[in-house]
Amino acid sequence: MKTDPTDILFILAKEEVDFVIVGGFAATIYGSQQVTEDIDICCDFGPANLMRLQSAIADLKPVHRMTPKRPPLQLTPESAKHFNNLYLDTDVGQLDCISEVKGVGDFVRVKQKSRPIKIQGYSFRVLDLDALIDSKKAMSRPRDQEAVRQLETLKYIKQKQER
């Protein structure tokens, strides 16, 4: 059994699920020191892409995590049309799938504001640093305020180094 939550990302990439890495893990990619337990992705919530996602993570026994009964993920092309977000728990950790990012916009906008990245030979898209900062500012929870401080500092140091 895989034990690394980041394996979820490789699985999704292999199955060609259309998504962008956002949230705390995106911040980690940029160099943030904050620790995050879950993987947040913004993805195309069209039925075809959701069915691809479900198929990709089926072996990880995904369940809906924001309800005490924690029912298994059992989408159909018809039922998939009714979801805007999927908050899942899997055997290797939490996967939160959202259709839009506060402070940035819907998936089309998020994808426009993303950049390509390669991790261990796999290609991904991650929200760009400016959009990530905007999304954290829009959330305004204390941990997001800390994230903004770190990301803005990273951006500042990077800009100075690249001159």
């Binding site: 980041t6 980690t28 991790i119 500042y156 140091i157 001159r163």
Partner: protein, 73 residues
């Protein structure tokens, strides 16, 4: 002068000593440190490839979970 310095004479610090001075005197970085940001840790992370940043994050996450589980026993 390198072409980079010609474009921006202020340029990034060229030596470790100069880097240290910059980190300790730049007003933006000083404010970040007062806000609790570990600017040296962030700078170190910027020198690492993405895979290494992720690897270190997973180590920290594992440590967090161990301590969290220990506290809940």
């Amino acid at each position: 002068m390198t072409s980079q310095n010609r474009a921006n004479p202020a340029g990034p610090p060229q030596t470790d000593d100069a880097m240290e001075v910059w980190f300790n005197t730049d007003p933006v970085l000083c404010q970040a440190r007062r806000d609790g940001v570990d600017v040296w840790a962030l700078w170190a992370n910027l020198q690492r490839p993405v895979e290494e940043r992720i690897r270190r994050h997973q180590i920290a996450l594992h440590r967090f979970r161990l301590l969290h589980n220990a506290a809940n026993q």
